[in-house]
């Protein structure tokens, strides 16, 4: 069975005045139906770029794909033309972003925005509207409107029909994010990329939105890539997790496996940095050092300069990936040696 999304050894460079920054270096990730992958890492590690790459929304130039593939249902999206790509966006892969106040167009009713997305998706798959092919404009519009109402109801907007004619500023932040989820899912995509969907919301609304996402995965049989820097969100929502550091995935696997048995020194450091009730003031462990310069990245393991376990061999070449348990992969040979010794 081919995966919904299969990113294979993706390399991406960003050209700037100072040189080419290697922002993604060999990212591999495979997402299947009903899986929710948490993609975690600190700011600038490349998690958002990975998400945007799936929909090919990264501007080239300044960016340049220097290697790898992004397979969606077996097709490499990096080889598609812009019109072919447009047929996939919203239809095969939906996206939601961080700030619900800026991602809805303030000058248009939400109904208009939802209907346009539905009509665009129906151009490539008329079945979405439940009409015979060749239905008239009027009929398509009416069907799209009906679908928009159904979708809004599904994401939990009360009195959806009457709210269709409201403008975004008439909704609260959480409601706006629900509208954006409805918009992302109205084309019935199999894959959803959610880039920090709860970061701009307050905690109680966060929980509601995450619950909604889980429901949507169950009812629509989707796969999700949830990009976040919040391990709490991952633990609460995801079935799998991939930890990114400086453009590489250092550890990935089923959520229970990774959280119970974090293997990579960076994952361990991340988990240690989460405040906990038992930790006394001043005892929280941060991570010394800074993210490496990606224009001249360290040879070998990118985490080595900050790693307590690092040894000279770590700086020689890219760390080989070990399978620690079924599905649980770690890009660090040293941990294995230390633990087996």
């Amino acid at each position: 069975m081919t995966a919904l999304l299969d990113i294979r050894d993706l390399h991406l460079s960003m050209h700037s005045f100072e040189g080419a920054a290697k922002v993604l270096s060999g990212v591999s990730l495979s997402v299947e139906k009903r899986q929710i992958w948490g993609l975690v890492g600190e700011t600038g590690c490349g998690k958002s770029l990975t998400g945007l790459s799936v929909s090919r929304l990264v501007r080239t130039p300044p960016a340049e794909y220097t290697g790898g593939q992004i397979l969606m249902d077996g097709t490499d999206v990096l080889g598609l033309s812009e019109p072919q790509m447009r047929a996939l966006r919203g239809r095969r892969v939906g996206m939601i972003f961080q700030d619900p106040t800026t991602n809805l167009n303030p000058a248009f009713r939400i109904g208009t925005q939802l209907i346009d997305v539905a009509l665009a998706a129906a151009k490539h798959d008329p079945a979405i509207l439940g009409l015979e092919p060749g239905a008239g404009r009027r009929a398509r519009k009416a069907a799209a409107r009906k679908l928009a109402i159904a979708m809004l109801t599904e994401v939990g907007i009360p009195a959806a029909e009457s709210r269709l004619d409201d403008y975004p500023h008439q909704f609260s932040g959480g409601m706006r994010q629900r509208v954006l989820i409805a918009m992302a899912l109205i084309g019935r995509p199999g894959l959803l990329i959610a880039d920090e969907p709860t970061t701009a919301l307050d905690v109680s609304v966060q929980a509601q939105i995450l619950t909604l996402l889980k429901q949507m995965v169950a009812t629509h049989d989707m796969g999700v890539v949830l990009i976040t820097h919040n391990l709490g969100v991952v633990a609460q929502t995801c079935t799998h997790v991939a930890v990114m550091y400086a453009g590489t995935i250092v550890e990935k696997g089923p959520i229970e496996a990774v959280l119970a048995d974090p293997a990579h020194p960076y994952t361990q450091a991340l988990l240690r940095a989460i405040p906990d009730r038992s930790v006394k003031r001043g005892q929280l462990q941060g991570l010394a050092g800074a993210v490496p310069n990606l224009i001249h990245p360290p040879p070998g393991c990118r985490f080595a300069p900050r790693c307590a376990l690092a040894r000279p061999s770590c700086l020689e070449g890219p760390p080989p990936v070990h399978t620690r348990a079924p599905g649980h992969a770690v890009a660090c040979p040293v941990v294995e040696e230390v633990q087996h010794a």
Binding site: L57, R89, F97, D116
Partner: protein, 335 residues
Amino acid sequence: MLRFILRRILLILPVLIGMTIIMFVIARVLPGDPVGLAAGPNATRAEIEALAREFGLDQPLWVQYWTYLSGLVQGDFGTSLFSRRPVATDLAAYLPATLELVFSALLLAIVVGIPAGLMAAVWRNKWPDYLSNILSVAAISMPRFFLGLLLQLCFAMWLMWLPLGGRFPIIFDPPPGVTGFYTIDSILAGDWESFWTAMRYLALPAIAMSLSPLATILRMMRASTIEVMHQDYVTTARALGLSPRLIVFKYVLRNAISASLTVIGLYFGWLLGGTVLVETVFDWPGIGLYATSAIVSQDFMPVVSVALVIGVLFVTANIVIDVLYGLINPKVRYQ
């Protein structure tokens, strides 16, 4: 919304009254002898005094002003010293010509400027953008009357495609007056020949007046379009598969246009005031030409009235723009 408009109208009343006072006083304290000019070189002292009495100019200034203001409320703009015609009659004859010119110029500027600015932003840093950049800087830098002269030289003298000046050939009757706009009147009358003639006369002065606002609207539109294209909601629209055409012409356009709207409102006033020069160059029988001849003969009633009319139109235009803001941007509330 209605309350908002009413309030705006009430607020401009003091502005207009202040304007009449300033205009009235300035026109009368200026050095010169308008009555003597109007009476002619051979008039006797007694004749001049009689004329001054006839027009009430022997009264104290505040009495004159009160007479003027109470006439104004009833639609009486006073009487021209020279032609002895009521100024209101003259305005009714000349104002439509000016408005036709100003509206055509503005329409041309909007119809060309907004799409061109949008295109310049879409093809940013490619040749259409550079070309529009060069042309708009040239258009903004060129004085209108000089541009008018160049157009006359090129299209009327050398190529002989268009008439040199005027509004309609003297030997023909203009279309029956309904709106006073010859182009619209000839359409209403179904007279296509007159329409074509009116358009030919309108073309050069309208182009001369439109280039500067056109260039400004274009640059404004380009800048705001570029800004809007970087907004998150444009990324979302792209991410969900909307076509670039729909995104630019529907979703970006409406957000980008409001900055240009301000410019359009300001340019309406600028064009009204600026008709004086262009109407003189093109011999266009509008209020600009009317005011110029009145100024030369120190005939102050027409001058004050023209200034007042321009003021009223300018303020009205800005109220219209404010209302349009609300239609485009639902977040604008009228309070």
